[in-house]
Symmetry: C2
Subunit: 204 residues, 2 copies
């Protein structure tokens, strides 16, 4: 039956979102979906591949929306560089809209990002989109050395991931939270580069 696959996807999406990936066993999923254990491996190959397909399905429209928003911002900016705030909005608002409909999925993706060890199948799916946003940030912050830029974006990702880990946004208003994130992260990205004086200070 074709509905077996959907029943697995639905149950897995809910349980992964509620309990996390590692804490949800395949036997828990099949009990919830009312299917046989081997059906998962028949349809998805492995637990990890089940996760990858799940995330891709939900991330696809979000990432498409992100790239479209960045395209539009760049078109509006013309030859000038897009502002940090516009870049962050292009990245965050499509995700916030999706989060309003499906908070569990957002929470799971935040947790996956946070765990650091994202399955290759997910990472490779996000990479092209992320690369475009890194390039936009590089143009918006030309004074930052490359290493510092990449680190600051990584720190920004941490702020976003921890925000996504929260069970729910205040009053369920994910767009408000996204705008708060834009303010916080742009404040961090715009901070003056710290003077390299650490070693001097320490020996005092």
């Amino acid at each position: 039956m074709i509905e077996t696959k959907d029943k697995i996807l639905d149950a897995a999406e809910r349980l992964f979102g509620e309990r996390g990936y590692a804490e949800t066993s395949l036997r828990h999923i099949i009990a919830d979906a009312g299917v046989n254990l081997a059906a998962i491996h028949y349809h998805f190959g492995s637990k990890e591949d089940l996760l990858v397909q799940l995330v891709r399905r939900r991330a696809e429209p979000i990432n498409a929306g992100r790239l479209a928003a960045l395209d539009q911002a760049e078109a509006e900016a013309g030859p000038a560089s897009v502002s940090v705030e516009k870049i962050l909005e292009a990245f965050l608002l499509p995700a916030a809209e999706a989060a309003a409909k499906r908070p569990e999925m957002t929470r799971l993706m935040g947790r996956l990002h946070a765990e650091g060890c994202i399955p290759p199948g997910i990472k490779s799916y996000f990479t092209p989109m992320v690369e475009r946003f890194i390039a936009a940030a590089r143009r918006a912050l030309p004074h930052l050395p490359e290493e510092e830029l990449l680190w600051r974006l990584r720190a920004s990702a941490g702020a976003m991931a921890f925000t996504m880990l929260e069970p729910h946004a205040p009053q369920g208003d994910y767009l408000a939270r996204a705008r708060q994130l834009v303010a916080f992260v742009s404040g961090g990205l715009r901070a003056p580069a710290s003077v390299v004086e650490a070693k001097v200070e320490v020996t005092q």
Copy 2:
């Protein structure tokens, strides 16, 4: 033998730091330490309790240093509130000094923080120290609503955790990285609170 316990601790600390907690099996640890499987449960009770004891041992001097630095900053500030930068330095510099000596441990703690699901034994150990820093931040940023303050501190923790996840600081200079973090996070914490206009914008 008393050295059995130490052999387990040493092997576990190294392997957890290199491979992560979940990816390191007890059988891997005993092979490395040259002890019996049941010895771990005799000395520590469970894999999780082994982790808790490990982290506590390394975190104790760091947290003591953090509180001492905050005490000193508050003494110097007198009746005035301590600046955000001073608070962040008190929190980050003791950890950076420890990270210079033991990068793997720092990485493991970053990963544990990031995973969101910190064992209760670790969380309860950090809570009193964290509460003091939250109180200091509340005084330093009195204009922020409480909910917004807590969320911004959470986002700050995300930036720190992702920074700690990096295999190594640039040129192994953890103090320089800590100062960059102070600049980034204080920029985020100091950002003007976003106007609640999200709902208006969306309907456009």
